[in-house]
Amino acid sequence: MAIAQDGMTRSSAAFLPLDADRKRRLIVAIANSVISHVDELTTLDAAIGDGDHGHNMKRGFDAALQDLDALSAMDLPDLLKAIGTKLVMKVGGASGPLYGTLFLALGKALPPEPSRSDAAAAFASAIAAVRARGKSNAGQKTMLDVLIPSCEAFSSGSDLAAVKKTAALSAEATASMRATRGRASFLGERSIGHVDPGAKSSSLMIAALCDLLRDA
């Protein structure tokens, strides 16, 4: 199978590595990016929310890891939709439907062997679905403040190290924002100075994905 190089040079070639072993590594990497930061995410959420983001997300990804064999055997769209459904059913907070929608929409938009431009288009349409689900937009101190700039970097042809950096910097940049959506918005000015936990979990997943694809 042809794997595209970093960059846009072979945008028509399959971009995501897709044999069962790589699908398995993809799921494990994304799940562990959240699970290994459960305490940090919970601490961030305790500062400006209800303090359950880490544990809620862990519950969702633990459910995905329990089904790792079955998930790895699926084609990419079905795999993403199955993970989305698990997040929706298991997470229990607002992040369940939001991340669930992200994965479900990616599964709907991606072909089984996407090119880089397929991946960019699917990322954009999944972000639109999350915006609609959360009735939210950029600048409100949410996961969108990482997803949108990361998608822009990826779509403009940045290499994956640069996309990862964009995600990390964008998560940090939510600290200076005032929350106007979600429970952190109840804090008003007091939400300023804290990184948004959803932005952080998004950046962790993007970092894991970028690392895995760079190593592919």
């Binding site: 809620n56 059913m89 229990g92 607002a94 992040s95 369940g96 689900r133 429970r183």
Partner: protein, 128 residues
């Protein structure tokens, strides 16, 4: 036609059950009523599966009005509605109203045989 059903969705099972008690005190058994609270592990939060189940328990051919508390309760409820069978989906709404007052006034309206649209509007008049 049957009366509109009411579903109460809180992060806390105690709040949901207590709100349901207040609704029952007002309308007795005249309105199909269900409540749910708690995340899939039993902590504070909501569960899409439990919300879906509550919608089915309170099902009425006239429709079902949901009263929810915070963020995830609303998002999970909206997603539960979208995942219902097509013939039911259009007859379930989330009311933008305070959960307890909204549930009591919506159920009172429903007990008089009001349509789903009227039940919702009456509950939403509580929100400025």
């Amino acid at each position: 036609m049957a009366n509109v059903g009411i579903v109460i969705v809180s992060h806390s099972p105690k709040v949901a059950e207590g709100a349901a008690d207040m609704v029952r005190q007002m309308v007795g058994q005249e309105v199909p009523l269900a409540w749910t609270g708690g995340d899939p592990s039993g902590g504070l939060g909501t569960s899409l599966e439990a919300i879906t189940d509550a919608i089915h328990r309170a099902w009425s051919e006239a429709g079902v009005a949901l009263l929810v508390d915070l963020g995830g309760a609303e998002t999970n409820s909206e997603m539960a509605i979208e995942m219902l069978a097509e013939e039911k989906r259009g007859r379930v709404v989330v009311c933008n109203a305070p959960i307890i007052e909204g549930a009591v006034i919506a159920a009172t309206e429903a007990s008089g045989g009001a349509t789903l649209a009227t039940v919702r509007r009456t509950a939403e008049e509580l929100s400025p």
